[in-house]
């Protein structure tokens, strides 16, 4: 299958490992990945902070760039959530009904990684190998906006060598929330403290999720505490193989130090 990668601005700029892993994983499964280079950002940040008018040009760009593709994937629950639930609203707010309906068409063909793997490609065993103790944090937008449910867990359970441990109070927000982490830094930190306590209680080596943004927040906190627990995007775990692990010795994680 020919699959267009919507890399997301955050993964492109700060967490390319999540995106390169998505490419390697899909190619390993026998699919063709294309990267439309005119893409930039879905505009979620603008919409969520209160700038829908400024977001309009980004929605227009996103729709134009991805309209030609039958299947689009992003390694981010929150960006797919924005495409699915905000783009048409932004267009309608600006009175552009034609853009709104085109946005809805693109949204219907856009999938978060675990949705693409399980629902579209019909696979839960992706042939991955990852010999670590791992806990999974279901990010709010994957969980409640996209309703990815247990798809990521079904994928993780099939990974060879992986010891999956349940995260206590998993469905509680980690406190990232985009600029919430800046505008309400104290409250965000209080939420993060509880999330980190729960992650540490699992005694996992790795905390994974489907959103680089939440992992940046959790990983940044864990790093400051010198816990040694790493945050690794779900795509990187699923892209890891036994051959790769024995290979160049590169840290496939590369998210937090």
């Amino acid at each position: 299958m020919r699959i267009a990668l919507f890399v997301t601005c955050l993964a492109d700029t700060l967490f390319p490992a999540a995106a390169t892993a998505t490419v390697r994983l899909l190619e390993r499964l026998g699919h063709e990945v294309v990267f439309p280079e005119d893409q930039t950002c879905c505009g979620q940040m603008h919409v969520n902070i209160g700038y829908p008018d400024e977001a309009l040009r980004l929605v227009r760009r996103h729709v134009r760039v991805f309209a030609p593709y039958d299947v689009v994937v992003a390694p981010s629950g929150s960006c797919v959530g924005s495409v699915r639930h905000q783009h048409a609203t932004v267009a309608r707010r600006a009175g552009d009904e034609r853009l709104a309906s085109r946005a809805e068409e693109v949204a219907a063909r856009t999938y978060e990684l675990s949705e693409l793997l399980v629902d579209v490609l019909g696979v839960t065993d992706v042939g991955a190998y990852y010999p670590h103790r791992v806990t999974y944090h279901p990010t709010c937008h994957s969980l409640r906006v996209l309703r990815v449910g247990d798809r990521p867990l079904r994928l993780l359970r099939e990974v060879r060598g992986l010891d999956l441990v349940e995260l206590p109070q998993a469905e509680q927000c980690c406190g990232f929330g985009g600029t919430f982490a800046l505008k309400n830094a104290d409250t965000s930190m209080a939420m993060l403290a509880d999330k980190m306590r729960n992650v540490l209680a699992t005694r996992a080596d790795v905390c994974t999720a489907g959103d680089a943004s939440c992992l940046m927040h959790i990983g940044g906190g864990l790093s400051r505490l010198r816990t040694g627990v790493r945050t690794v995007h779900l795509a990187e775990i699923l892209a890891s193989t036994e051959a790769g692990a024995r290979g160049v010795g590169r840290d496939v994680a590369g998210v937090a130090r």
């Binding site: 760009r61 905000q86 709010c140 927000c173 990232f176 929330g177 309400n184 830094a185 409250t187």
Partner: protein, 469 residues
């Protein structure tokens, strides 16, 4: 555009923005323990009884449909309600705002010749600051709901819609009673039963000697003119049945078209709010009945900004709220900051959308941002109010800091020009500029580095990697 709630009266605005108020609350370890314990307990109870109901999703959808229909023809339903209440021997008053509502109630109490009123727990009267208005007129209001009584005796403010004293534990409540309850037993313990018994003794005298009561309303039925209050303690029923005069202050959004519509809400409300299968006391009254109960009944229909909310296509669903507080109990922000940080009698997620709409967003500009948009509130809401979408909608209406607006416009422009965007990516060596782990960042970015390290910038962006492969 209809008028918003006037400033200077009532309790819809805080003295400071949410982040500042939240910071103080976060520093109070006892408060955080009390809140965590209480919200965790209510969440557990509520979740269990909701799981028992096989048609919960259908009930929620029915509630939303009834509320949407009600809002679409609110004026005609209110006129119908007025006619039915009048027909049944009651008197209806229309109050455009808090000032008018307080004046109407104060005047009615004076006409009844009373200098004390007993109160049924009511959010509407908290919203308009009725107690303060009555006190200013020389009338003593006595709260009869146990938690409201604790707040009143403690000279405190409510911090939760359903459990106004949620921020207090029983040791603190004992201290308040010993300090402020007249004639209390000095040997009072902090056993819940002992505390409740002390409150009962205190209130019994009030019930038997007060001639005027003031209530709110959970629901009003337009076709019959029936008012309804649901409660757990029975103190409300004492107020609704014993006095000579009953005055009900009701937000105009509380009306329902038909008696039958109550069925849906009486199933949803107790399970979503207190985690009970059915609330212990459901009191309904229609006008007056000669020789039985209050012989004078007044209904004050309160707008106080509600028409302005109704005029907003996205925001109007906030008027669907039945004040169950389920959104507060699941909100991770509320759980850590408590209700006072929101500055309004409506705290938590619903307060973050309702308060700014009632006052005008400029008066409560920090509240739409008092959420991480995690969406737990939407999932918990028994009437399916899409709170995250209203939050985002209100953020677009809120006044923006000039520097932020300029940065966001520049970012949008850059992101709409891929070559410029790629150049900006390469320049974004933020953490290199900021020193080790980004600890030298200026505000507002310093909020991030107070407790989190910045990610190491990767050697190349994804698009560079793609171009080179």
């Amino acid at each position: 555009m209809p008028a918003t709630a006037p400033p200077g009266v009532g309790h819809l605005r805080g003295d400071e923005p949410f982040p500042a108020a939240a910071r103080r609350a976060l520093g109070d370890a006892q408060l955080r323990r009390n809140l965590r314990h209480a919200t965790t307990t209510i969440r557990g109870k509520s979740g269990a009884v909701i799981d028992e109901v096989p048609d919960w999703p259908e009930l929620r959808a029915a509630a939303r449909a009834i509320k949407t229909d009600t809002m679409a023809r609110l004026p005609e339903l209110l006129v119908q309600l007025e006619a039915a209440v009048t027909e049944a021997g009651g008197t209806v008053h229309w109050a455009a705002d808090a000032v008018e509502a307080n004046r109407i109630v104060t005047e009615l109490v004076r006409v009844a010749g009373a200098d004390r009123v007993m109160k049924v727990k009511s959010m509407a009267t908290q919203e308009i600051g009725l107690n303060e208005a009555l006190e200013a007129a020389g009338i003593e209001p006595v709260e009869t709901d146990l938690a409201e009584l604790i707040v009143q005796l403690g000279r405190d403010r409510p911090s939760h819609i359903l459990v106004p004293a949620i921020h207090r534990n029983r040791a603190e409540i004992r201290e308040i009673f010993l300090r402020a309850m007249p004639g209390v037993d000095p040997g009072l313990t902090d056993e819940p039963a002992a505390l409740a018994a002390a409150a009962r003794r205190h209130l019994r005298e009030t019930f038997l000697s007060t001639r005027v009561a003031v209530s709110g309303a959970n629901f009003a039925v337009a076709e019959t003119g029936t008012l309804a209050v649901v409660e757990s303690e029975g103190n409300g029923r004492m107020c609704l049945t014993l006095p000579e005069t009953l005055i009900t202050v009701m937000g105009i959004e509380k009306v329902l078209p038909t008696w039958r519509d109550l069925e849906v809400f009486l199933q949803l409300l107790p399970r979503a709010s207190t985690g009970e299968r059915m609330n212990p006391y459901t009191s309904m009254w229609t006008g007056v009945t000669p020789g039985d109960g209050p012989q004078a009944f007044h209904l004050v229909l309160l707008d106080n900004g509600r028409s302005a909310v109704l005029a907003d296509e996205v925001g109007r669903q906030a008027l669907h709220c039945i004040r169950c507080s389920a959104c507060l109990n699941v909100c991770p922000v509320y759980e850590r900051t408590g209700g006072h940080a929101y500055g309004s009698v409506y705290p938590g997620p619903i307060g973050a959308v309702l308060s700014p709409q009632l006052t005008g967003v400029a008066d409560n500009a920090s509240l739409p941002y008092a959420s991480s948009l995690c969406g737990a509130c939407y999932d918990a809401c028994p009437v399916m109010i899409d709170i995250p979408s209203i939050l985002v909608h209100l953020r677009a209406e809120a006044p923006h800091p000039r520097a932020e607006a300029a940065a966001m416009a520049a970012a949008a422009y850059t992101m709409d020009h891929p070559a410029l965007y790629a150049a900006a990516q390469r320049a974004a060596r933020l953490s290199r500029l900021a020193g080790p782990r980004g600890r030298g960042l200026p505000p507002p970015l310093s909020g991030w580095t107070a407790g989190r390290d910045l990610p190491e910038p990767p050697p190349q962006t994804f698009r560079q990697w793609w171009a080179e492969r």
